[in-house]
Amino acid sequence: MSWEVTSRVRGGVPLSVADAQQFHALIATLTDTSRQFAAQSAAWATLSDQLTRTRLHVSSCPVHRDSWPGGSLTAAAMPRLSFIVELSRACEAQIRACSTIVQHLDALAQLVARAQGLYLDAETKAVHASAGIPTDPLSTASSVLRGMASDILRSIGVVATSDDKSQPLLDILHTTSPYHQALMRGFSIAVLAGIARSRTIRPGSGMTAIDPLHGMLSRNSVNVAAEHLASISMQLNDRRQGNRIELSRRYPVWQVTRQADGIAGAIAQLRSLAENQYGTGEDNGLSYATIAIQRYRRMDGSTAWLVIVPGTDGHADSPFGWPQNVELMSSQARTRMQADSTRMVLEAMERSGIGQDDPVAIIGHSQGGIVAATLASDSKYNIRHIVTAGSPVANHPISGDTWTTSIEMDDELVPALDGAANPVGERWLTIHGSVAETVHDNGTGPVLAEPVPETADARQMSHHLKFHQAAYANAAALGSGAVTSHDRHFRQVIAGELEETSYWQGRMMH
């Protein structure tokens, strides 16, 4: 069994009105032609039904039998009967051919729509409406849905640690994927409501119930809830892990990352660096919580940088543990900047010699992507472009000067933890990837899908970087102007020769 990814693009450089009209016209024409072929197929099917009846009539016709009933057909009726037989065979062939053409044309209409980012809103609404999905976050705050949300959240941990139990949970994640965002927002509202109630009971705590209540109504309710939770979890985690980061430069035996050739190349470098840390790739000589910083010399002699940041590894003394995610998701810049993972990356950037005005690109997976969004929102560095793979960053106040390319798989859950869709704009492009079993080319599968390398027989967690890599490759193949312009911008930021790559490992200490 093999798996493949199809991508849809949302945001990025918008189409001109004229281009948008042309692509809409093409989709309409493909759809209309498909309908005409469906009608043709139906016409041949009706003829086929009629032939069955005619055959019975000819076989039993009293006029065309030597004697009636039970006689054989007359010679006059034979050509008519053979025509019917031939026509029946032809009908089957016509129906098959027309149906295949219908499938081709429908797939092409979808291809144009996903390449140009058309109809995505309507598509999403249609999916939600047909599935009866509650898109109102207040309705998802009900106790049943709250339980479902916590089950889904728990599934991340179980999937990451257990092979035998993961399949049913992966299936649940896949089938509930359209709910994830609304569920997470509803869940955060429930958390905020709980906090508001507890503060009402304990008025002496020095805080008011207004903040959580206000947060419940805001778009970034998840981040407001995260801020409240982080105020507790940070202290607990500091007691457990310590709050001092020991950062050391590491020297791998072989060069783990190479010059990044555009966004696709940067994803490949991120994967090369990260896989060993997640225990899914070859031993690259580096341990967990290690980032890479590449220095590029541009044509004009200036310096540019690419910072490569893997995601959560969950080790007990890692700055990239689970609790840091809550801090990074906070609505408050101060909390985000105090997260251990942010502090570690900032210190590594400083020790690498990145100047405040040097152009910087950051690529991060999962927690690494949230760190990238945090630095682009809150740091003094000149962050020109960030690429996030599977990261919930919709509500981060990323500077308007920074270009953001987000890659999110439909059923990986993590990027939905922000409870909101990413903003749409010229400088923010989101590539949505869907994983499905490979359909061999019989006309029924999606047009232009990217095979996922090294896939197993069973469904895998699509939070793995190889899925984001396939999703980006598929988006690039779509020929979308939005993808092309983001890739061009990313290349411009780090245009030049790779001079040096430094690797930095962080450990939490008391």
Binding site: D19, Q22, F23, A25, L26, T29, L30, D32, T33, Q36, F37, A39, Q40, A43, W44, T46, L47, Q50, L51, R53, T54, H57, V58, S60, C61, P62, V63, H64, W68, P69, A77, P79, R80, F83, I84, E86, L87, A90, A93, Q94, A97, C98, T100, I101, H104, L105, A107, L108, L111, V112, A115, V447, L448, A477, L478, G479
Partner: protein, 91 residues
């Protein structure tokens, strides 16, 4: 026109297959007309697809697939024409 024979009971029996055959031929005409309309629609679609400024693997694939659909429909048309030719003899 229906022919009549005298059956075993001594009654005139109507030809049941002529009416059914006529109905069949009408359906055949409808399906063949639909084939022609689809051929025109596909040609228009191909022309529109070719006129749009869209490059890359997806654009090339789309144009290839439309061409494939035109070829497949050509087979559909040829079968329909062959059936119409036989139809003349049967009718």
């Amino acid at each position: 026109m229906n022919q009549h024979v005298i059956n075993n009971a001594g009654l005139a029996a109507a030809c049941t297959c002529q009416t059914a055959t006529t109905g069949t031929l009408n359906h055949l005409d409808t399906a063949c007309a639909s084939t022609e309309r689809c051929a025109t629609a596909l040609t228009d679609t191909a022309a529109l697809a070719a006129s749009i400024d869209w490059h890359g693997q997806a654009a090339a694939l789309m144009r290839d697939k439309v061409t494939t659909a035109i070829r497949m429909n050509e087979d559909v048309r040829q079968r329909a024409h062959a059936l119409l030719a036989i139809r003349q003899e049967v009718a």
